[in-house]
């Protein structure tokens, strides 16, 4: 049995286009072939999670059944009552599989959990979001079939972008008119080719051609600068890795968005020229946007309200700082239970708190100059802070300091 990794090679795009063509013709004429879309989605899921990855496929099925019980159960309960503790328990239950998958490799070194599969985090984000919005009352009716379509939407199943249920539902039901659909097709073709440039050329150049060589040189210099390993090669690694990370992930995201567009679903964009950010806050509005907005809406905002409502912290300035810290710490743990992901989270929390102080200072001192030069300096500083955080994120320091010795 064949196994296909999403967007892994040019052939995948040929299969994708052939598979989606009937659907596209339907949408062009204002119809969504629901049965066809269900069948073709099942085939693609089978190709992604079948063959040598069949264990992941089983894990996915188990996971879906589990989330249906949790989310569906909460929907049934919510019609009758609205206790906070039930809500909290439901969220915890919804997260538990992901927690197990993330903690397993940290406890049993190198072991992967049996219940894990490609994309489990992204499905968890979608499920938790459902529970929270049902609590808020913004999602009133639990439609199991639409929920399944939302969770298992194959273009974004492996690594996002993370869509929102109500938006997805709207697009699924409301077929775009021909003019709008043509615009979407136009964008989709553009995104796919931009994605080719990002993922198959630039990411290959930085990640496959350059990175191993620079890593090798940096490891050769691991005794440099008083045994810290700080060398020019390490700086080179930092920038090369940052470029690789961006082009790889942004390329992938472009493919996922483009495939969604072909299917008449306007999955939100994930990146918006992040290296042009003027400060860290701006950066998180441009980098992995669907993730950072998810964290903003479902962790940061909720925590801030919670603290204010219960008056847990008196000093108003401290509230966002605590919320940032919690927000980024959770994001760090989500990436994986290793010291470098957690430090990465703390680093960004620190950076964004310092940034808040600076913005406050700027507000008080209106006479500070603001021109193209200062903007350039701001972009330069932000870029370097971000690249440094990616060096932490890469785990290369772990190799350099601990495992290569």
């Amino acid at each position: 049995m064949i196994n296909l990794q999403p967007y892994g090679n040019p052939m995948y795009f040929v299969y994708l286009l052939v598979g989606l063509l009937p659907l596209m013709i339907g949408l062009y004429f204002g119809k969504r072939f629901v049965v066809y879309q269900t069948i073709i989605s099942a085939i693609f899921l089978l190709l992604i999670f079948g063959g040598s990855k069949w264990q992941q496929g089983l894990a996915l099925i188990g996971y879906i059944v589990y989330q249906f019980i949790v989310v569906g159960g909460y929907a049934v309960y919510k019609r009758r009552a609205n206790q906070t503790w039930v809500f909290v328990c439901t969220v915890i239950l919804s997260i538990i599989p992901l927690v197990i998958v993330k903690i397993t490799p940290a406890i049993q070194v190198g072991r992967q959990s049996l219940i894990g599969f490609l994309g489990i985090s992204y499905l968890t984000f979608k499920s938790v979001q459902m529970v929270m919005e049902m609590r808020d009352g913004t999602i009133k009716k639990f439609d199991p079939i639409m929920f399944a379509r939302f969770l298992l939407f194959f273009p974004t199943i492996s690594s996002g972008p993370i869509d929102r249920y109500r938006r997805f539902q709207h697009d699924y039901i409301q077929i775009p008119d021909r003019k709008h659909y043509l615009q979407m097709l136009d964008k989709a073709v553009h995104y796919i080719f931009l994605g080719f440039l990002y993922k198959f050329i630039l990411s290959y150049l930085f990640g496959t051609m350059m990175l191993p060589k620079i890593a090798h040189i940096a490891i050769m210099h691991r005794e440099a600068f008083f045994h810290t390993g700080i060398s020019l090669a390490l700086v080179g690694y930092m920038y090369t890795y940052s470029m690789y990370l961006f082009f790889d992930f942004a390329g992938y995201s472009l493919f996922a968005v483009a495939a969604s567009y072909l299917m008449g679903i306007e999955t939100p964009m994930n990146f918006n020229q992040p290296f042009k950010a003027h400060n860290i806050k701006d950066f998180w509005n441009r980098w992995h946007m669907t993730l950072s907005f998810w964290f903003r809406d479902f962790i940061f905002m909720r925590l801030t309200f919670f603290i204010m409502k219960h008056r847990l912290i008196k000093n108003r300035k401290r509230i966002p700082q605590v919320a940032y810290l919690a927000n980024f710490l959770i994001m760090g743990f989500w990436h994986g239970v290793t010291w470098y992901y957690i430090v990465y989270g703390l680093f960004h929390a620190g950076a964004i708190i310092i940034n808040d102080y600076w913005l406050g200072f700027k507000k008080k001192h209106r006479q500070l100059p603001h021109n193209r030069l200062t903007e350039g300096i701001a972009i330069f500083i932000t870029f370097n802070v971000v690249c440094f955080s990616f060096l932490i994120f890469s785990g290369f320091l772990n190799t350099l300091w601990f495992s290569a010795r």
Partner: protein, 418 residues
């Protein structure tokens, strides 16, 4: 009508681009000729891209290049390396280096698959290292690194139902690379079980071959590294006229100059980057358990011999020594090495491969080895004294008698006693 025009604006360029790409890759075009500079670069590049390809190799071998099969020692491009000596002293041949770290018999067997026309009745050099003959034999990851779908297809299309080809198919299927394409895998299974490759499989593989060939001739000239600069630098430090005593003198001088930071006779740069600090301590007595006498590699090697015999290739084999001080330090058993060399030599001579230069007694010679197991300075000069006359002078036609017993498990596990 208006929206149809728009559709064409969106998808027209994609359709045209895809059509052009398919035409470019699927038509048997061939795409011209490589210039001699590209040949020169490719011959010393030691790049897996060159090993995997076909066109550069074919063209170079038609223009006086001679294949030097080997492994990591080929990358020791000091001033006495065969490629440097051949260029400096305007020999009638130029080495085309085929092999690098991790390339062993199975890789070489497939590398030569599409060189039949160029190799028939010709001479080649084959450096065979005892280190290949580990208990596990060819490492699948290293094989994958040099694996060429093109050569595999060329091999499958010409495969016959005989012991050698069935054995090769079996070995290939033991590697993940051999199972990387569905139809190729099915065809290999047919060969393994003595069944013919189906017409559909052949048609598909031939179509894929055309695409791979076009890719090869379009792209293999790019990104050749600059090993050639090392060769040219080496040429400059050699005496203008060939003199064995002068060269030997120089080799001693260079060797002495470059082995000053350790007592094992290992080149400074190698020692510093690979062995210094605690690493050298950890390696003390680390090789006491190594045994090269029993290995699947012996049968893989037989595949190579079988191919040479089929094409009547005249081969000069070279068995390099191991740095004796290194062997002593790491506890590598010298009797075991001796028995390994004898087993290899037995396999060669039994089948009529009589050009064997066994250097295993030279492990103690100063400046013979560049580091642990790789020939260097004086070692290369010694090799040259056999290789140069072998390639320059006319040689009698060899008479090979291939024996299938060397493909057996029994032979893989036989230890030859003195």
């Amino acid at each position: 009508m208006k929206t149809k025009g728009k559709l064409w604006l969106i998808f027209g360029p994609v359709i045209i681009a895809a059509g052009l790409l398919i035409l470019l890759l699927s038509l048997p075009i061939g795409f011209g000729h490589f210039n001699s500079q590209t040949e020169k670069k490719a011959a010393v590049s030691l790049s897996p891209k060159v090993f995997r390809g076909r066109k550069i190799k074919q063209q170079a071998l038609e223009n006086g290049y001679v294949p030097f099969f080997g492994s990591s020692e080929l990358s020791r491009l000091d001033e006495f390396h065969p490629s440097v000596l051949a260029a400096k002293y305007h020999r009638s041949y130029r080495p085309f280096l085929l092999g690098n770290a991790g390339s062993q018999s199975l890789t070489h067997y497939f590398t030569m698959q599409n060189l039949g026309t160029q190799l028939k009745g010709k001479k080649v050099i084959f450096i065979i290292s005892p280190q290949w003959f580990t208990k596990e034999g060819q490492r699948p990851d290293a094989f994958g690194f040099y694996y060429s779908p093109l050569q595999t297809i060329d091999w499958i299309i010409n495969a016959k139902n005989d012991t050698a080809d069935r054995y090769a198919a079996k070995r290939l299927l033991e590697m993940p690379s051999g199972r990387s394409s569905e139809i190729g895998e099915a065809a290999l299974e047919n060969v393994e079980h003595g069944k013919p490759v189906s017409e559909f499989q052949k048609m598909f593989l031939k179509f894929k071959e055309t695409i791979l060939l076009n890719e090869d001739s379009l792209f293999s000239r790019f990104q050749l590294n600059n090993n050639l600069a090392k060769v040219q630098k080496g040429e400059k430090s050699l005496p203008a006229h060939y003199s064995i005593s002068k060269l030997n003198h120089l080799a001693v001088k260079v060797g002495r100059r470059e082995t000053t930071n350790n007592k094992l006779g290992i080149k400074n740069t190698f020692y510093k980057t690979r062995l210094s600090g605690n690493r050298i301590k950890d390696l003390k007595d680390s090789q006491t358990k190594l045994d090269y006498r029993r290995s699947p590699e012996y049968s893989d090697f037989e595949l190579v011999l079988n191919q040479f015999a089929k094409w009547h290739v005249n081969v000069q084999f070279i068995i390099p020594p191991i740095n004796a001080r290194w062997a002593d330090y790491t506890g590598l058993s010298i009797p075991m090495i001796r028995q390994t060399d004898q087993k290899i030599e037995y396999q060669l001579r039994q089948q009529g491969f009589n050009n064997v230069l066994d250097l295993s007694d030279y492990g103690n010679e100063k400046y013979f080895m560049e580091d642990t197991i790789h020939l260097g300075w004086r070692g290369w000069l010694k090799v040259d004294q056999t290789v140069n006359p072998f390639l320059t002078n006319k040689q009698p036609q060899p008479n090979y008698i291939i024996q299938n017993r060397f493909f057996s498990k029994n032979w893989q596990n036989t230890v030859k006693n003195e």
